[in-house]
């Protein structure tokens, strides 16, 4: 492995931010028992993946991919399209997840996973 010079750090800095965010979301999902908080964690993870794609799409000195005579260099539009789709699908799944949470709250009277487990064991 070549040493960590400043160019490497600056070049990969965005990816590292993405990893920190993704791991924070991952940690919320697997360590918290509250179902709403789990969904928030999923959203954090999701946004970090969006950030990852958009980071890859960026070109130095580029501008937004809308054709205009004054500009020559544009960022890559393909990841933008993919993420546009992903955001909307993400909200759809979030809505479904929250609907499930509401139903679980109706059935069990709680949205804490361990309490739900305890009730299931008791039956």
């Amino acid at each position: 492995m070549e040493g960590f010079d400043i160019k490497t750090v600056l070049g990969l800095y965005n990816y590292w931010i993405v990893i920190v965010l993704a791991m924070a979301g991952f940690y919320i999902v697997i360590s918290r028992a509250n179902l709403v908080k789990k969904i928030v964690g999923l959203n954090v993870f999701q946004t970090s993946v969006f950030l990852f794609y958009i980071t890859m799409a960026k070109v130095d000195g580029g501008t937004a991919p809308i054709i205009e005579k004054a500009y020559e260099v544009y960022s890559n539009p393909l990841p933008h399209v993919l993420i546009l789709t992903a955001i909307v699908v993400g909200v759809a799944t979030t809505a479904l997840g929250l609907g499930l949470v509401v139903r679980i709250n109706d059935a069990y009277g709680t949205i804490e996973e361990d309490e739900i487990n305890a009730q299931d064991q008791a039956e």
Partner: protein, 176 residues
């Protein structure tokens, strides 16, 4: 921000923070030339998601209970995964590198020819509606399915509550 979401116990504050987080993400997307994505993230991620979550909180509860165990195993797992991903980034092309593989495949074609082929200046729109139209069709299908799912989950709930209210009324009528 993310750390605050991990630590906070008041779910209301968590939901508000996640809204702010989405909005900041949208600002970063503008900075990274993805204006369409930023629009969507600000409207859908920061707007609709937050409203949905607040609705859920209104229907359930506002406070998270304190867990009675310390989650060391998840922490170790997360750190290990993070380290593996960190190792993976060392081979990634640098930020903004115009020679990265991602910019060599179909993107130049889209950038050069799509204004002539489709006739719209915004290339993101071109790809979304034309080249990757099936993607968008699939997206609509997913949203439709999710909508049906939410209706199926919550529609029955309203009916049940109505029935129990009716029963309450009839019981009340019998008593008086």
């Amino acid at each position: 921000m993310a750390v605050a979401i991990v630590r906070l116990r008041s779910l209301f504050a968590v939901v508000m923070l996640s809204g702010i987080y989405s909005l900041i993400a949208a600002a970063i997307f503008v900075q990274l030339d993805a204006v369409d994505v930023a629009f969507t993230e600000a409207a859908v991620g920061a707007g609709i998601s937050t409203v949905l979550m607040l609705g859920t909180l209104a229907l359930t509860t506002n406070h998270e209970k304190i867990p009675h165990y310390t989650p060391y195993l998840p922490l170790v797992l997360v750190v290990l995964t993070g380290a593996a991903l960190f190792y993976g980034t060392l081979d990634m092309p640098y930020f903004g590198d115009p020679n990265a593989p991602i910019h060599q495949h179909v993107a130049p074609h889209y950038l050069e020819l799509s204004p002539q082929e489709i006739g719209i200046k915004n290339i993101v729109t071109n790809i979304l509606a034309s080249y990757r139209g099936y993607d968008t069709l699939g997206e609509v299908t997913v949203i439709f399915t999710a909508g049906v799912g939410v209706l199926a989950l919550l529609g029955g709930r309203r009916r049940k509550r109505q029935r129990s209210e009716d029963m309450d009324k009839s019981v009340g009528g019998g008593m008086f």
